[in-house]
C-alpha cells in the first residue's frame, strides 16, 4: 500500500532521502572532510596554486561579463564629461607638467652627482626600477583582507613580490598572480610589513598593517624614540623589494603607556590606498646583481671600487648624453684610462669622470 503511494508521487514530492542516494548527513560529513583537507592543503602546501590558476582562467570570461556594466557606466560618464571640465583638467595638467619639467631638469644633474658621490664612497649604483602600469579592477570581495585586483597578470610578466605604488606613495605588494589579473595586498593588511625609515632622522624600523582600520603600526620602538606626529615614513630599500625613498605613511598618533616599554605609533598611509584607479607595478631589482658586489666588496674593496668606477662612468656617460646637447663619444679614451686606475688606488683626483667632458 505504502509502496504504491510512493510510486504515484512525482519526483519533487517524494521525500528527499528517497532519491538523494547517500543520506544528507553522510554527504555533509564527506564534503566537510573534503573541505577541511583542502583548507589544510591550501594553507600548508602549494599544490592548489595551479588549480586556482586554472579556475581563475576559466572564471575570467565571467569576470569580464560581470565588470562590463561598470565599464559601460564609466565610459558613458567619460563621454558626457563636460568640455569645460576637460579644458580645466588640461590646463592643470600643463601647469603640473611645467613644474615637473623644472624638477626633472634638476634631477638629471642630481642623479649624475649622486652617482659620482656613490663612486667615491664605493657604493652601489642607484637602482632605477622598471615599471608597468596597472589598472585597479575591483576591491577585494573578502571583507577580511585588504586586497585589490589589478588587470595585469602573468601574461604581462608580473611576478609575486613586486611592489605597487601610485603617484603619492607605496600601495602594497603583489601577492598572487593569475594569468590576466593579479592580487595586491595593501600595506594596511595585517599580513604585510614594510621596512621604513623616518625621513627626518633616517631611523629605520618596520611598519605593520593594522587590517581594517587602514593604518600602519610601528611596534618595538622604545618610548624614548625620536618620532613626532607628522613625521614622514619612507621606504628604506633594505629589503630589495621596495626602492628606497618612496613615501609610505605619516605618523598620526603616538601613545605611551606606563606598562609597556614600547611606544604605540600609529601612522596613516600616504598613497590613496583605497581610492585609486591606476597604479605602477615596479620590477623587483635583480638581487643576484647586488649580492656578488656586496660580497666582493667585503673581501676586496679596492677591486670592487674600480669595477664600480667603470659602471658609474657608464651611468654618467648615459646621463651626460641625456642632458648634454653635445654628447661625449670617445669611450676608447676612457677604457685606456682604466688600466692606470687598476694600477693605482682610487682617489677622487684620478677618477676619470671629471676628465671625460674635457676631451672633445
Amino acid at each position: 500500500m505504502l509502496k504504491g503511494i510512493h510510486q504515484q508521487l512525482d519526483p519533487q514530492e517524494s521525500p528527499a532521502f528517497f532519491i538523494q542516494g547517500p543520506k544528507p548527513f553522510s554527504r555533509l560529513m564527506f564534503f566537510c572532510a573534503l573541505s577541511l583537507v583542502m583548507m589544510a592543503v591550501d594553507a600548508r602546501f602549494d599544490y592548489l596554486g595551479q588549480v586556482r590558476q586554472w579556475f581563475s582562467t576559466a572564471l575570467h570570461p565571467l569576470e569580464v561579463v560581470a565588470s562590463a556594466p561598470n565599464e559601460w557606466a564609466r565610459n558613458i560618464h567619460t563621454y558626457f564629461t563636460s568640455h569645460n571640465q576637460l579644458i580645466q583638467d588640461n590646463f592643470k595638467l600643463k601647469q603640473q607638467a611645467l613644474i615637473d619639467h623644472a624638477a626633472l631638469q634638476r634631477l638629471a644633474t642630481v642623479d649624475a652627482e649622486n652617482a659620482h658621490l656613490r663612486t667615491l664612497l664605493a657604493g652601489d649604483a642607484p637602482i632605477i626600477p622598471q615599471a608597468t602600469l596597472g589598472e585597479v579592477m575591483h576591491m577585494g570581495r573578502d571583507p577580511f583582507s585588504n586586497i585589490i585586483t589589478l588587470n595585469r597578470g602573468s601574461h604581462h610578466h608580473i611576478t609575486p613580490g613586486q611592489a605597487v605604488v601610485d603617484e603619492q606613495g607605496v600601495v602594497g605588494q603583489i601577492t598572487r598572480v593569475y594569468p590576466f589579473t593579479s592580487e595586491v595586498t595593501l600595506i594596511t593588511d595585517k599580513k604585510l610589513s614594510i621596512p621604513i625609515q623616518i625621513e627626518r632622522n633616517q631611523l629605520r624600523a618596520i611598519a605593520f598593517g593594522e587590517g581594517k582600520r587602514n593604518t600602519l603600526d610601528i611596534p618595538y620602538l622604545p618610548t624614548s624614540v625620536d618620532i613626532k606626529v607628522g613625521d614622514k615614513l619612507v621606504t628604506s630599500g633594505i629589503d630589495g623589494v621596495y626602492p628606497a625613498g618612496l613615501a609610505v605613511a605619516v605618523v598620526t598618533q603616538i601613545k605611551q603607556s606606563q606598562d609597556s616599554p614600547f611606544a604605540k605609533i600609529i601612522s596613516r598611509p600616504i598613497a590613496g590606498v583605497n581610492n585609486h584607479k591606476h597604479v605602477l607595478i615596479l620590477q623587483v631589482p635583480d638581487s643576484p646583481a647586488i649580492n656578488p658586489s656586496s660580497e666582493s666588496r667585503a673581501v676586496l674593496p679596492r677591486n670592487n671600487a674600480q669595477h664600480l668606477d667603470q659602471s658609474v662612468v657608464d651611468v654618467l656617460q648615459k646621463n651626460n648624453a641625456a642632458v648634454d646637447p653635445h654628447p661625449v663619444t670617445e669611450t676608447p679614451v676612457l677604457e685606456g684610462t682604466n688600466p692606470d686606475n687598476a694600477a693605482s688606488p682610487i682617489t677622487p683626483e684620478n677618477t676619470p669622470t671629471p676628465a671625460a667632458p674635457e676631451h672633445p
Binding site: 538523494q20 572564471l59 571583507p143
Partner: protein, 158 residues
C-alpha cells in the same frame, strides 16, 4: 506545479556567480548579499532533486576561488548551512512566509558566523557590526527568488 528544469537551476547558478564576481565598490561590499548562497539555499529547499549538498559545496568552492580566500572555507560553511536547511526541508515547505523568513535568516546568520569563526581561527580580527548586514540583504534577495521562482511547493494532499 511543474518540477523545475535542471537547466533553470544551472542558469541561476551561473547568474549568481556573475553577480558574485561583480566588482563591488568599498561601500557596496558592506551590504552585498551572498548571491550564490541564497540561490543555492533556495534550490535545495525548492528542488532537492536537483540541488544536493554536493552542488552547494561546489558553489561555495566557486566563492572561495572568486574571493581568493582559503580554498574550502566557503565550501565548508555552505555545506553545513545546506545540511541545516535540508534536514528540515519537509517541514520548511509547510511553514508560512514569516516562519520561513525566520528560519532562512537563521541559516544565513549561521553561514556568516561559521565564516567568521574560520577567519578568527586563521588569525583574523573581529569585524564591526556591519559584518552582519549582508544577512538582511540576503533576505531581500531571498524574497526576489520567491517572486521569480515561486513559493516553496507544498506536497499535494494525498
Amino acid at each position: 506545479m511543474k518540477p523545475v528544469k535542471f537547466s533553470t537551476f544551472l542558469f541561476t547558478m551561473l547568474v549568481g556567480l556573475i553577480f558574485q564576481l561583480y566588482p563591488w565598490s568599498s561601500s557596496g561590499i558592506i551590504i552585498h548579499p551572498d548571491f550564490l548562497l541564497v540561490i543555492m539555499i533556495y534550490w535545495i529547499l525548492q528542488a532537492p532533486y536537483h540541488c544536493n549538498i554536493g552542488w552547494v559545496w561546489f558553489a561555495g568552492l566557486l566563492v572561495d576561488l572568486s574571493t581568493g580566500s582559503l580554498l574550502g572555507q566557503h565550501a565548508l560553511t555552505f555545506a553545513i548551512t545546506a545540511f541545516l536547511g535540508l534536514i528540515y526541508q519537509r517541514r520548511l515547505v509547510l511553514f508560512n512566509r514569516w516562519q520561513l523568513y525566520l528560519y532562512v535568516l537563521f541559516l544565513f546568520g549561521v553561514q556568516r558566523l561559521l565564516i567568521l569563526l574560520l577567519k578568527l581561527f586563521a588569525g583574523g580580527e573581529i569585524p564591526d557590526w556591519t559584518y552582519g548586514l549582508p544577512v538582511l540583504s540576503d533576505l531581500i534577495l531571498w524574497q526576489f527568488m520567491i517572486i521569480w521562482f515561486g513559493e516553496l511547493t507544498r506536497p499535494k494532499k494525498l
